[in-house]
Symmetry: C2
Subunit: 420 residues, 2 copies
């Protein structure tokens, strides 16, 4: 018997039929003797409707009122799931963030959870009652107002609630059946990873994998909460109830690297196609030039990703290359031109047709030659590397977008990730 | 300057364009220096969607979860109106029932308000902030759960909030521009009443006028809160801001009879067409017969309206006639047949084609001959009276439904209510 937090996203609760399916997943766990808290998102489409009403009312809107409106989406799902659970014979009640309470910072629309009082819910779990909790929201205690965590925040809610309830596992149900070595649409031989470390999952999340929200992985890592990624579309009766000694039978477990016995050097290949590259040529190389370039971009809320600086042969100028999201390229160029007075004279080159390919693996720390293998494999296919950045457990390269799929397939094979 | 509570129903806030219109009504009041609290219903259609989801999830559902789901409708409107008010330069914030708090009894779906803490809202009204409050709901404090007042409860919310805020007037905006002497669709010469007493309004509400919820009128009467019925579809700029010395310039004021200087003998003619008449013939006349007839009907939740008992010439039997809602006739007949053992032998007659016509007026108390005038006017048109009931300020007759419109027009004219 275990305490299990189950989280279901918007597509898993998109209509009453799917909510019934979720209820059967919950019943499977409860029938096996597990204590269950369920965290739910808004029904797919509901949040978009609410957001579009807010925007129609006013493009410049009070974030507190936005939260009051948008938070109703999860409240509806929680009530409907509680009703559905009761209709199949389970004890259940819905909980809104303020009723628990889940307290947050006052940063409406992007609030962080500051505390969860899990005592009453724990007491009720002991009586066999299922707790159905609204994801994505809490209460900002100073002003007694509902605050949302920002889009995708329901994963974070689930992990935080699992920590507060001292749960054994936090099961995140999505529309995929686990974390893969790479995108199966590009590489049919991609394999499901039975286990992946928090650090690897973090890199994957920040590199475009949409399986788990970055913040939820950080929170799980700090609290050493075991997270599992599962598919809500697998028939509820075809899955085994959660058993702590057999968690890895299904889905992907995200856990501490110590718990991964046979760790591979490389566990996954990630890619981002929607990148744009900007190069400022012959910028005068004097102290503070980087802040004069990137300050205005930050002020304009443009997220800069890779940055490579190189010095020209004359020793007095520098070339500065960086990448931004493809859709941000026009604004980036405008912002730079407007800041020419501060930056000094420069030529500018840009390209929207670049892709970032990343090789991720905790084993890199102890294995030499991982990067060299990557570069030679790409060279063998005639793929030119435009820029490189590395971290302790990741190597990213920028290449011509036309070669993205070829590069992913090549690296997936070279690092021995292809399924048999 | 006055403290004004403004209430807007579902059709008045059905979409963002109409919410903008509501915001202009509010701005008119605020610009004139009035302090404003606004009470809103769910956008038309939203509550129906929520209720249909609940029913699809389970026909037998937990009333507490039903409330958690359905209460979100008003929460959305309150947030959207606050945003819209801010966009036209007003300070505003939304308030959900639990934030104020508005406390209620635990009767989920049909809760009664037990208390409202108006202190914080009063403080903010003094700073010029507009309070936008969810109608129809509060919090049941023992279990910390949202409770709804039942359909139409937003009128009651508005009056209760007006009382708590010691408001000068509670303006109820609807889709009609006041209370009329009768239905203008039947009598084109119907007139808007500038003032009507609580008692008369209560009779009109219970006799089918849908302008105000019965409970809201009762609450206003007990607390002597002045209520005004106005149209939200009148252009906001074409109306004068509320001024306590000139309230009667527009709409209908519902107030204490003492405040009505020139009261008329009859102030309105009401009718209900959807009535059915049931007569039990030759029921044995022994003690307790009425309770043996009406007990089973009450148990079956069938609302009995008029009751007339007459004794037959033999002195040992009685004929019992009563009316029910037309749609309840089949269930009524079934229930009576099932209870034949307890009631004793009887014959039964029923008719679904009857209408109830009522003449209402506080002046009846001091004027003789009001009833006689009614009966002779109907007789002159050849309309047969099937049953009569009276109260201090009302006379109702049951007639053949085919004559309903003729009766209403005749009485409207006879009592001098026709417009010039």
């Amino acid at each position: 018997m275990a305490v299990v937090v189950m989280k279901f996203g918007g597509t898993s609760v998109a209509n009453i039929e799917r909510i019934r399916n979720v209820a059967r997943h919950v019943k499977r766990e409860a029938d096996a003797g597990n204590q269950v808290a369920v965290v739910v998102s808004a029904m797919a489409g509901v949040t978009n409707q609410l957001v579009s009403w807010v925007r129609e009312a006013s493009l410049l809107h009070d974030a507190r009122e936005y939260d009051a409106v948008v938070a109703t989406g999860e409240q509806v799902t929680a009530g409907l799931l509680a009703i559905t659970l009761q209709s199949i014979g389970l004890q259940a009640r819905s909980w809104q963030g303020w009723q628990i309470p889940i307290t947050t910072t006052p940063a409406h629309g992007a609030a962080r959870i500051t505390g969860i009082d899990g005592a009453e819910i724990r007491r009720r779990l002991d009586t066999g009652e299922v707790a159905v909790i609204t994801g994505f929201q809490g209460i900002e205690p100073d002003r007694n107002r509902i605050a949302t965590l920002g889009r995708g925040g329901s994963d974070t809610s689930a992990v935080a609630i699992a920590v507060a309830l001292k749960a054994d596992v936090c099961d995140i149900y999505t529309d995929v059946d686990g974390v893969y070595t790479t995108d199966p649409r590009i590489v049919p031989k991609a394999r499901r990873l039975p286990k992946v470390s928090y650090e690897e999952m973090l890199e994957m999340a920040s590199l475009g994998s949409k399986v788990l929200q970055t913040r939820s992985v950080e929170l799980a890592m700090v609290n050493r909460m075991t997270v599992r990624v599962l598919s809500s579309f697998t028939a509820p009766e075809a899955m085994e109830p959660a058993r702590m000694d057999r968690l890895e039978d299904i889905g992907t477990i995200v856990c501490d690297e110590d718990e991964i016995v046979e760790s591979q050097v490389v566990s996954g290949i990630a890619y981002v196609k929607d990148e744009a590259k900007v190069t400022l040529i012959k910028v005068e190389d004097k102290p503070g030039v980087a802040s004069r370039i990137f300050g205005p971009l930050a002020d304009a809320n443009i997220n800069v990703d890779m940055i490579i600086q190189s010095v020209t042969p004359d020793g007095m100028h520098t070339d500065m290359t960086f990448t931004v999201q493809g859709s941000e390229l026009p604004r980036t160029l405008e912002t730079l031109k407007a800041a020419k007075k501060e930056i000094g004279d420069f030529e500018i080159q840009s390209s929207a047709d670049v892709a970032k390919i990343s090789v991720i693996g905790i084993g890199m720390r102890s294995h030499a030659g991982v990067a060299a293998k990557m570069f030679s494999a790409l060279a063998a296919k005639g793929i030119n590397i435009l820029a490189i950045t590395t971290s302790e457990i990741k190597i990213s390269v920028l290449i011509d977008a036309a070669y993205a799929e070829l590069a992913v397939r090549t690296l997936h094979s070279v690092y021995g990730l292809d399924a048999d």
